[in-house]
């Protein structure tokens, strides 16, 4: 392993997750505006539900991104000191990672 390169990959993932998290809330918001502007339409209620489930799904995906980024960074740091131990710790993280 080249720890510095792997750590950079981890940092990049966490940055990507931070940026995505900020954009999600504002982008999903306009679906509520559309639903409220069209009361009485069946599609309005369905859009609100669609927004809710997909916002939750995307938050979980973004959280997974941050978790995996963190795992890469930490393991790269550990590997720089004790390669085998760092690998074991990452394996544990990957085993519980749900993507």
């Amino acid at each position: 392993m080249r720890p510095e390169q792997v750590a950079t990959a981890g940092d990049d993932l966490r940055t990507l997750a931070d940026e995505a998290k900020q954009k999600l809330a504002s982008l999903f918001h306009l679906s509520d505006v559309a639903a409220q502007a069209n009361p009485g339409w069946l599609a309005a209620a369905s859009l609100s539900n669609c927004r809710t489930v997909w916002e939750q799904r995307m938050r979980e995906t973004v959280d997974s991104t941050a978790t995996l980024g963190e795992a890469l960074t930490v393991s790269a740091g550990d590997a720089a000191n004790a390669d085998a131990e760092g690998a074991d710790r990452l394996t544990t993280v990957l085993d519980t990672f749900g993507t």
């Binding site: 392993m1 080249r2 390169q5 792997v6 950079t8 990959a9 990049d12 993932l13 990507l16 995505a20 954009k23 999600l24 982008l27 999903f28 918001h29 306009l30 679906s31 505006v33 559309a34 502007a37 069209n38 009361p39 009485g40 339409w41 069946l42 599609a43 209620a45 369905s46 859009l47 539900n49 669609c50 489930v53 997909w54 939750q56 799904r57 995307m58 995906t61 997974s64 991104t65 995996l68 795992a71 890469l72 690998a87 990452l90 394996t91 990957l94 990672f97 993507t99």
Partner: protein, 440 residues
């Protein structure tokens, strides 16, 4: 309207009076249709499109800055496992993006179908009032005592209002169904299923929502009144989005029909009709890949003549298929098809070299042919080559080009929805729109 997988076909059959809801569902009320804000559906669609782009960018970022770096810098078993997890995460973003494009299709479909219907309703109400009729809060049209207005005017106003409410209800029901399916797809983890099936259904439904805004089943006089009241932008939108359904309306002016047919040596309406009706007909699929063959069949059935040699026979530089035996194995190997008939790269070149022209994507029309040219290394063929072809069957008002193809069979697929995933998987593509024109 004949669509193999028609989602609304059953609804098209029944034209119940306005006081008898046809679907066991809540009718869109007169008040709610007049107060509708379809532009808000469109604005919401814009943000779902932005969400899809963010997801696609995230997937690209993970592939390029995550998977690639880990593969290069961590080469043991644990590194391989980490790379696999990164790939799965990137595909999770692509799966989400593929489904989100479906939401985009439905919301634009709502915007672009409810907008003209609401304008038609306003026009019908105005027509009724100009004739001295009363339109009550439920949309009922009545003539006051002693009215001298012709009874036909009352019937026409009433028919237009009922048509608007009925169409809006069918669209609302279908959009609800589609959005519920797109919400349920949140549990799907298969990227190809999301793009091919979930998004594919939604992109087809977008076109059908627009078709539902037409006064299908009405008499010629009502259709003519509807068409005459449409603003120019609505007429243009229907001509590009649902040309066959529009063409088939009784009462549509003849000059509009001639314009829809085109003057390129084949009937564009019949090319689109044939493609849509045969999207899932596998009878013509005698090759491993039948995309160009499907395009050739559509154009041939629309009247484009084969290009033969001076003695009426097939030759390498022509465009034709010879007599077919019906035995697929033999027909595929007996050299009766010219390369331009069956090979997308050769077909694009043939049409451009024989009277056709390349059209900007923004100018695509139903009945054109769409080709995918490899624009970067890493795809199924060398850079610069064309590897796929399809028939443009609809251009929706949001500018999305919908196409119909074989191998695999797709009906009214969305270019905006599918291209980003295609490019992640196959590398950058240049989309080429060709308008064939018979010069032989």
């Amino acid at each position: 309207m004949i669509r193999p997988a028609g989602l609304l076909a059953a609804c098209c059959q029944a034209r119940n009076p306005w006081w008898q809801p046809a679907y066991g569902a809540v009718m869109v009320s007169f008040e709610n249709l007049l107060a509708a804000r379809p532009d808000e559906w469109g604005r919401a669609a814009d943000t779902w499109a932005a969400l899809a782009r963010e997801s696609e960018d995230a997937a690209n970022g993970i592939f390029e800055r995550g998977s690639a770096k880990v593969a290069e810098n961590w080469t043991d078993q644990v590194g391989a496992e980490a790379g696999a997890k990164l790939d799965a995460l990137a595909n999770s973003y692509l799966t989400a993006a593929g489904t989100m494009h479906g939401v985009v299709s439905i919301l634009y479909g709502l915007d672009d179908s409810i907008g003209p219907i609401r304008r038609s309703l306003e026009s019908a109400v105005d027509y009724a009032r100009r004739n001295g009729f009363t339109v009550d809060a439920d949309g009922r049209v009545t003539a006051p005592a002693g009215s001298t207005a012709p009874p036909e005017a009352l019937r026409e106003a009433d028919a237009l209002i009922r048509e608007a409410l009925d169409s809006a209800t069918r669209i609302d029901v279908e959009a609800r169904t589609q959005l519920d399916e797109l919400a349920a797809a949140v549990f799907n983890a298969d990227r190809d299923w999301a793009v091919d099936h979930v998004q594919g259904n939604a992109s087809r439904a977008q076109v059908e929502l627009l078709a539902e805004a037409l006064p299908t089943g009405q008499d010629p006089a009502t259709v003519a009144a509807w068409w005459n009241a449409l603003p120019p932008q609505d007429r243009a939108a229907f001509e590009r989005a649902v040309p066959v359904e529009l063409y088939d309306l009784p009462g549509l002016p003849e000059d509009v029909k001639r314009r829809l047919e085109g003057d390129d040596g084949y009937n564009r309406i019949e090319a689109v009709r044939w493609a849509q009706q045969n999207a899932f007909n596998r009878d013509i699929d005698i090759f491993d890949n039948n995309c160009a063959n499907f395009v050739s069949y559509a154009l041939s059935n629309a009247g484009l003549a084969p290009k033969l040699d001076d003695f009426g026979g097939a030759y390498q530089d022509g465009w034709s298929q010879g007599a077919q035996t019906g035995w697929d194995w033999l027909d595929a190997r007996d050299y009766t098809h010219t390369p331009a008939w069956t090979v997308s790269d050769r077909q694009r070149d043939f049409f451009l070299d024989n009277g056709g022209s390349e059209i900007p994507l923004s100018g695509a029309q139903p009945g054109d042919v769409i080709y995918w040219e490899q624009a970067a290394p890493g795809g199924p063929i060398a850079e610069g080559g064309v590897h796929h072809a399809a028939v443009v069957t609809s251009v929706t008002p949001d500018g999305d080009v919908h196409y119909t193809q074989h191998t695999a069979s797709r009906l009214d697929a969305s270019l905006d929805g599918r291209l980003p995933t295609n490019e992640v998987v196959e590398g950058d593509q240049r989309v080429v729109i060709v308008r064939p024109r018979q010069s032989w």
